[in-house]
């Protein structure tokens, strides 16, 4: 196994903070933790190149560093790239994460690093990488390197990787299927018994929590405001001109309502596989309440209704996708000078 190992100036033996600006340098043998890694991996594992860079230099010149390191790893014909362990050193973690991620993507070889859970490199790179949980400092260096070696061996051999707790890496936040011995019925009863008896249990899915969205300032004067209607109920003109998918939609559309006081069922269809659409089909205003809003506009309670409504289909859609849809719609809302939006869902 041919390994290229990345270290910062401190673990690379150049010096402390005073050497944090030192540029990328290299050795053709194992250095510092690399020697321990070589020993732990044993027969056939060689650190063929050690790359060392000062922490400041690394973060200030990250793009050049990434290019240079990827090139060095390519030249070395490595089977594995290792960075760190970085413990709670933030700049070191950021560089290690960027480098591992680039090497993995560009060269298709596995990469392993190690950090403390609170290292800023973890937040940025955890999803794409196996980051061994290193603790805050080098106190458990040997254990950490052992875990890195264990993961590295499996990754290089293409063996299946166990769960975070078994292998010692930080949860990546991803899901994969696995056959288990106990049926879901048995697991459900195990869990409810543990819960009702105040014993500890492991949920199979952590409860998700999201940053609260701050309530924006109210509309000062609705009678002067331009209002837009947006729905995720999948209402589209007949023929679904933008091919908005009825499930896990990747697209949204803007549809003209400038001349209309009322939406008629025969002009629209519903691209949404998750609700009983009969009532909306019979009268689309039940989903996109143009008729009522137009009335308010006529009465002067609302300044002006924007000439298009926006629509997509909100069903089984991953957040990575809906965030993009939301951003795109928000841009449109801003461009059109809209003051208020009424969002309707199903």
């Amino acid at each position: 196994m041919r390994i290229v190992h990345y270290l910062n100036q401190f673990f690379g033996g150049i010096g402390g903070e005073e050497e944090a600006n030192s540029p990328l340098q290299e050795a053709d043998n194992a250095v510092g933790p690399g020697r321990l890694l070589e020993q732990t991996l044993g027969d056939g594992a060689t650190v063929v190149r050690t790359l060392i860079c000062g922490d400041n230099h690394a973060v200030e010149n990250q793009e050049e560093l990434v290019d240079a390191v990827v090139e060095r790893v390519r030249e070395a014909d490595a089977d594995l790239f290792v960075a760190g362990p970085c413990f709670d050193a933030g700049r070191y973690g950021m560089a290690a994460g960027a480098l591992c991620s680039a090497v993995q993507t560009e060269l298709g070889i596995p990469a392993v690093t190690a950090m403390h859970e609170e290292n800023p490199g973890v937040d940025l790179y955890r999803e794409g990488l196996y980051i061994v949980d290193s603790g805050r400092n080098a106190a458990k260096m040997k254990e950490v390197v052992q875990r890195m070696a264990g993961l590295a061996r499996k990754l290089v051999a293409g063996d299946p990787i166990g769960l975070p707790r078994e292998e010692g890496y930080l949860t990546r936040g991803l899901i994969r299927d696995q056959f288990v011995d106990k049926s879901s019925a048995e697991r459900l009863v195990d869990m409810v018994l543990a819960k009702v008896q105040d014993r500890s249990f492991d949920t199979e899915m952590p409860v998700t929590s999201f940053e609260p969205v701050a309530r924006p300032r109210g509309v000062d004067d609705l009678s002067q405001a331009k209002v837009m209607l947006i729905t995720d109920g999948g209402l589209v003109p007949k023929g679904n001109p933008d091919n908005i998918e009825g499930m896990a939609a990747t697209r949204w559309g803007a549809y003209d309502i400038s001349g209309a006081d009322d939406l008629a069922g025969e002009d629209y269809e519903i691209s949404h596989g998750g609700y009983d659409p009969r009532f909306v089909q019979a009268d689309p205003d039940r989903l996109v309440p143009l008729d009522a809003l137009r009335q308010l506009e006529k009465e002067g309670a609302v300044g002006k209704i924007h000439g298009e409504f926006l629509s997509t289909s909100g069903l089984s859609n991953p957040l990575s996708n809906t965030r993009r849809l939301g951003r795109e719609m928000a841009e449109k809302v801003k461009q059109e000078g809209v003051d208020a939006v009424i969002l309707t869902s199903t």
Partner: protein, 426 residues
């Protein structure tokens, strides 16, 4: 309420006259059975095939899978509300042909969210290993509809044909002594020594109003569930034919077989009998069609668990996709707010394989979650030596080497608790 299941193991199927149980071999008189099924004028014809475990065979799309069961004469109707009057199920003795199933095929390729092949019965190879149906002998029933009989009429005809076949076959066993029988002790926490055990209930959705039930679609005692509120059921009612699966089972799967052998109810019974808990009863619930419907249903289900069952804890399952997922969580939240501890099972809805997209709720108190997998498992299966399908076109679609996703194989993913396929966080 005291149901006895009398088991007659079946180790071979044989087409022959008359229909009878010969040791562990079931002889099936297909002409006799066909005549019985063709009493339904919606059916033009029906074909039968027998399949053994391990056979290089693929059949599909599967409409339903049913365990052959027949009640002792005088102990009540089989599948009450569908094949007989809607009298209470779960009483007396029901004879079971264990180790086999009746598998009814659809006459159309399924389409919809599970793709063109729907769910298939896969009897050998890697995909079969994950299914609870591949170890069984199957009598595959392939109905052909009479001209002009389609839609709800055809669905009903397939449902009834499957149930009638299941009863007809098991009637061959009712005069025999079973090799084993199982009686479920009535749910009763009264006896000494049981007072301190947690009182556990099961709350299972049996339908989601995201789809309109057909007028004559039998789900609960033959009723299509329209307008129904959650209802108390004795566990034995589930096991004895009170509930059958809806026509819509595409999200995660549910077969009548797994109501008859309900994995959660049988597990709660097992733990009841080993003295780990008091299984106090069940509630059959419905996922709502809108917020009002949701609130009404979730609150009614929670109230039954609290006030009628006086439970300390409850296990909850859903039926279908996103709306049922949200209703399940809301019911659990209401129960938790009443001090009733819950565990819930949800199926994988995270299409980008990220944890952040995995749940449709974020209630901190609903924190005991079993997470079923399926979106991430597929097999490259070899061509099948034998294919059973209603039409040559579907047969051709199924025959070749192809990719089969976990959700396309009956018995791999399941919302009644049978599945061993889990989605793990890494």
């Amino acid at each position: 309420m005291n149901l006895t299941l009398a088991y007659h193991p079946v180790r071979a199927l044989r087409f022959g006259t008359p229909t009878r149980l010969d040791g562990t071999t079931l002889d099936i008189d297909t002409d006799d059975l066909r005549a019985l099924l063709l009493e339904d004028e919606a059916l033009a014809d029906v074909a039968f095939e027998q399949v053994a475990p391990g056979e290089d065979c693929r059949a599909g799309p599967v409409f339903d899978i049913i365990e052959p069961r027949a009640k002792t004469a005088g102990d009540g109707p089989d599948f009450p509300g569908i094949l007989g009057p809607p009298l209470t199920a779960g009483k007396g003795t029901t004879h079971v042909l264990s180790g086999m199933a009746v598998t009814v095929l659809d006459e159309h390729a399924a389409g919809g969210s599970r793709g063109s092949i729907g769910r298939v019965l896969e009897m050998t190879g890697p995909a079969a290993e994950g299914s609870c149906y591949s170890p069984l002998h199957h009598l595959v029933v392939v109905p052909r509809m009479a001209p002009g009989k389609d839609g709800a009429t055809a669905q009903r005809a397939k449902r009834v044909a499957g149930l009638k076949t299941a009863v007809y076959l098991a009637q061959a066993s009712t005069a025999h002594a079973p090799s084993e029988s199982q009686t479920f002790n009535p749910v009763d926490p009264g006896p000494p020594g049981r007072q301190g055990l947690p009182r556990v209930a099961y709350v299972g959705q049996i339908f989601s109003r995201q789809r309109r039930a057909e007028l004559d679609e039998p789900v609960l005692y033959g009723h299509n569930t329209t307008g129904m509120l959650p209802v108390l059921l004795h566990p034995d009612e589930w096991l004895d034919g009170a509930v059958v699966t809806s026509y819509y089972t595409s999200m995660g799967g549910a077969e009548t077989y797994l109501y008859q052998n309900h994995p959660i109810i049988t597990e709660l019974y097992r733990r009841h009998h080993t003295g780990e808990l008091n299984f106090v009863g069940t509630v059959a619930s419905i996922a709502g069609s809108d917020n009002t419907d949701r609130d009404r249903n979730c609150r009614a289900a929670a109230s039954l668990v609290k006030w009628a069952l006086n439970a300390d804890a409850a296990v909850l399952t859903k039926y279908g996709g996103g709306v049922p997922h949200a209703d399940l969580a809301e019911t659990a939240r209401l129960l938790e707010s009443e001090g009733i501890r819950t565990s819930v099972m949800v199926s994988d809805v995270s299409r980008d394989r990220r944890v952040e997209s995995a749940l449709l709720f974020n209630f901190p108190e609903v924190d005991a979650i079993v997470y079923g997998g399926g979106n991430d498992t597929r097999w490259e299966v070899r061509p099948a030596a034998r294919v059973i399908a209603a039409t040559p076109a579907i047969g051709e679609l199924l025959a070749g080497a192809r990719e089969l996703g976990a959700m396309n194989v009956a018995g791999v993913t399941n919302q009644q608790g049978a599945s061993r396929l889990r989605a793990v966080v890494y």
